[in-house]
Symmetry: C2
Subunit: 212 residues, 2 copies
């Protein structure tokens, strides 16, 4: 049975922390390419993706729920009204794969969660949506574990590097360039991004000489 997959998405001025390496139109396109990658992975896992946004927009024919409220408020409004299973996955986990998402939605627990970089939350699977409420922003992973406990839900923490990796800052592009197989990493390559392996950690640099 197919699991609905809610993906919050902000089409306008997304990924501001990448402004140092991407112009606004590039950031918008890059965010869309990452969303495409997440949608493909969710479908491969057997999910039915739909988008949640604060204003009307259309994207590849996907169903869109418009709610002008904040992220937590609008997701919680949705949760209250839905008793079935649900995956909530962020639009910037561009490395997410079908098998990685399968591990979440096949959990034996009441819910499964994948933390994001810096203690955030990148994906939550709920066997019964209306038994949980979300509290994103800041170190939401610990908050979500606490809420699960308060709600009496068993919770599996799924150990996935691919879903753990959210793409917010320049340094995150490294992992996407190394491991990405989808549209977003292809787009970065097109824009001239390459890996630079000096001393210490690998970094990304943008070579614009060939992209004009």
């Amino acid at each position: 049975m197919s699991v609905p997959a809610l993906i919050p998405f902000k089409p306008r001025n997304p990924k501001t922390r990448l402004s140092c390496v991407l112009e606004l139109p590039e950031r918008e396109k890059f965010a869309q390419m990452m969303l495409c990658d997440v949608v493909v992975a969710a479908r491969e896992a057997g999910c039915e993706p739909f988008l949640l946004g604060t204003e009307p927009f259309s994207f590849n024919g996907l169903p869109v729920i418009v709610d002008p409220g904040g992220l937590n408020e609008s997701i919680n409004t949705y949760l209250e009204k839905n008793s079935g299973s649900l995956l909530i996955i962020m639009a910037d986990v561009a490395l997410a794969s079908g098998p990685a998402i399968r591990r979440l939605i096949t959990t034996k627990a009441d819910m499964a969660i994948v933390p994001g970089t810096g203690g955030g939350t990148n994906a939550i699977y709920l066997s019964s949506a209306d038994r949980f409420r979300v509290s994103y922003y800041g170190m939401s992973f610990e908050k979500h574990l606490r809420i699960a406990e308060e709600c009496g839900l068993s919770c599996e923490v799924v150990d996935s590097f691919l879903i753990h990796t959210d793409i917010d800052e320049r340094e995150d592009l490294v992992e996407l360039l190394i491991h990405g197989k989808g549209m977003s990493s292809r787009y970065l390559h097109e824009l001239g991004f390459v890996l630079s392996a000096d001393k210490g950690r690998v970094r990304v640099v943008r070579d614009t000489s060939g992209t004009e």
Copy 2:
């Protein structure tokens, strides 16, 4: 049947990229605490850990192989002489857990691998050690996939955030403080490290006021 787990370890002046936040004796102790965490996880997974170093040292009664050669040379010398199964795991993957390591050593492929931050290699499981050779340093993950292919070995890439996370730089301490349950994260807490959640990504700061 127990799988031998080779852990390369450098007791003297380790983790130089953490010099900005840790004094030399602290770095040495921190490296040992991380090693302890890896040893505990490996044993929990059913492995028998032993250490590989360039000079004689003793550590909690673990067997130590001393080889003054470089990392690749000394591991490859060991591989050539051993036809059984083997896990090679880095001493700084302090978040590694028993279940995460189990996923490697129970692979159905000839070998399994977990990439590290920036395209390195944090763990390799070989069902027959002498059929493979390692090539660490730089972006070794891609190199190891290529060597697997050259050697005719099927290879599973295991998607584990816990083993992917190696602790080399200050920013890596964030994930250890958030997710660590072992001795190394406890030691960081003792040293006064705390998380700081300002705008953007979470960072670590060291509060030395209470640790003198």
